[in-house]
């Protein structure tokens, strides 16, 4: 399939306030979802929804970034930018999933990790670092899906996985196009140009071998996209569940090891 939109059009689509985020996919893919709260250390971060449910009768742990729909909800969820306690809750639930040999599905969509004094005080960097470290050794299948904007380290903290999936209009980047344009040309208005250079679309990442699956979106309804994603998740869960923990971890290591080798 050829590239039909500019990179920045995809960035804008990925960020659109109308675009479904984590909660939508949980509602439409997962049965009997039970939400679990808190990191057992400091608090509960509403920017990340975590819990357990069935996907076609298979129990899975789902960890999803969610920005909310109404302005009140967005304030409460601080626009889907996770704080350290969000990443620590995610890791706690992943460890619980490992204990019960349950696959983990991570849904990523956020401009990045929350940026603020409190987040730094509670170790935003340490929280992300711990997730990268522990997810590399998590003995249960992990499938990460970028459904919206995959913003840098804050996205990667849920992105160490066995299969990486992107929706067609999702983007995944080391820096926002605005940030890149500001550094390069001292002009955030040149974001569209920066977006092209950053090669951040699902097509770019598939070409680079960074992601394994691309879910087509254009011309499809949200429900159709959701059911295609569910189909891909089920087939990956089936495939990954046949691997021994050693095979799984070794393949996960190699998936990242080959990037830029």
């Amino acid at each position: 399939m050829a590239e039909t939109k500019t990179a920045y059009e995809r960035v804008q689509t990925a960020r659109s306030g109308k675009r479904p985020m984590g909660a939508y996919y949980i509602e439409h893919m997962i049965d009997d979802f039970v939400e679990l709260h808190g990191d057992r250390r400091f608090g509960d971060d509403p920017a990340i929804i975590g819990g357990i449910g069935f996907i076609n009768h298979i129990p899975v742990t789902v960890i999803a970034m969610e920005r909310g729909d109404t302005i009140e909800e967005r304030m409460k969820r601080h626009f889907g930018c996770p704080k350290p306690e969000g990443y620590r809750k995610a890791l706690r639930l992943m460890k619980e999933a490992e204990k019960f040999r349950r696959p983990v599905i991570c849904l990523i969509g956020s401009s990045g990790a929350y940026c603020g004094i409190d987040a730094e005080e509670r170790g935003q960097g340490e929280a992300i670092a711990e997730n990268l470290f522990e997810m590399m050794g998590l003995k249960t299948p992990v499938i990460s899906v970028v459904v919206g904007e995959g913003g840098s380290g804050g996205a990667l903290a849920l992105g160490v996985c066995d299969t990486a999936v992107m929706l067609e209009n999702a983007v995944y980047s080391v820096i926002s196009p605005e940030g890149c344009a500001t550094i390069l040309w001292k002009d955030a208005a040149k974001a569209a140009e920066a977006a092209e250079h950053l090669r951040l679309t699902s097509y770019d990442l598939r070409q680079f071998g960074i992601i394994e699956k691309l879910i087509p979106e254009d011309g499809k309804t949200d429900r159709e996209i959701c059911s295609e994603l569910k189909r891909v998740l089920l087939s990956e869960i089936t495939r990954l569940s046949q691997l021994s923990p050693e095979e799984l971890l070794s393949a996960r290591y190699e998936k990242f090891r080959k990037i830029g080798a």
Binding site: Q124, G125, E134, F208
Partner: protein
């Protein structure tokens, strides 16, 4: 001074120009500058050390064996003007990339060692830096060696896009395997350690040491001020702030760091090796 001469090969140590303190402006003759651990002799400011200078005062004489010296960065996403930037950084720093890796002895203890150098594009992590550090951890795992890392970095290298971001995961995988093989990793954080480096191997050490007043954080200070409108508290994201909040083990004065490393390495020696 053999290491320094090796790195500054084109210009002997005696001919190095004096260094200027970025804080007080004092001019310090180069020999005096390195003898004082690259700390300003006038005002005590910790100036940023080059990898060669750090190496020279950290490892036992003649023990350092560099690996992957020739590994260079590529332009994986075809980012405009990036190759020219790499060439310029290479000329300016005398290095092929932003990190120097090898094996060495510190106080008689064998270890893998990596030292980042901010003179090469702020020590930012692209695929070459990620690959070199990954290989070092893999080698250390295979040879049952502890790893000591001197870290300074502006974070991910934007010009390598998603490849740069993914190095955080790649290195973390190698650190994890090294850790699971029962080997020690000591991270020494120096000014500045920020962004994706803080959010990966800087915070994954069994023991984390920082230099006094080093800037260590994830989000940039200006970005935090602009997005939240909050005024940053005094000492925010400095080493002392991280110690107070429980994210590092200790702050060490620069001249003491080699001794502290030697002590920690020997404390972690396995029973079989001690015999």
């Amino acid at each position: 001074m053999s290491i320094l001469e090796g790195i500054f090969g084109n210009r002997a140590v005696e001919q190095q120009p004096p260094r200027v303190c970025k804080k007080c402006g004092a001019e310090i003759p180069y020999k005096e500058y390195v003898a004082h651990h690259c700390i300003c002799t006038a005002c005590g400011t910790y100036l940023r050390m080059r990898a060669a200078e750090r190496l020279d005062e950290t490892v036992d004489a003649g023990s350092f064996q560099e690996i992957d010296k020739k590994l260079r960065g590529k332009n994986p996403i075809g980012f405009p003007d990036y190759q020219a930037k790499l060439d310029k950084a290479e000329k300016a720093s005398g290095l092929n990339e932003g990190v120097v890796c090898g094996t060495a002895k510190i106080g008689g203890n064998d270890c893998g060692l990596f030292i980042m150098d901010s003179a090469f594009m702020m020590g930012s992590m692209g695929t070459a830096v990620g690959e070199k550090i990954t290989r070092l951890f893999e080698k250390a795992t295979a040879q049952d060696l502890p790893v000591v890392g001197f870290i300074t970095s502006g974070g991910a290298r934007m010009q390598e896009g998603i490849f740069s971001l993914m190095q955080m995961a790649k290195v973390s995988g190698a650190v994890k395997r090294h850790s699971e093989s029962g080997n020690l990793y000591i991270a020494v954080l120096t000014d500045p350690t920020t962004g994706g480096i803080t959010a990966s191997f800087a915070m994954q050490g069994d023991v984390i040491i920082a230099e006094p007043k080093a800037l260590i954080g994830f989000a940039g200070q200006r970005v935090i001020e602009q997005t939240t409108g909050e005024k940053l508290p005094a000492g925010f994201q400095r080493a002392e702030f991280l110690l107070e909040h429980g994210f590092i083990d200790m702050i060490e004065e620069r001249p003491r760091i080699p001794y502290t490393l030697a002590k920690l390495l020997s404390l972690h020696r396995r029973a079989a090796d001690r015999a």
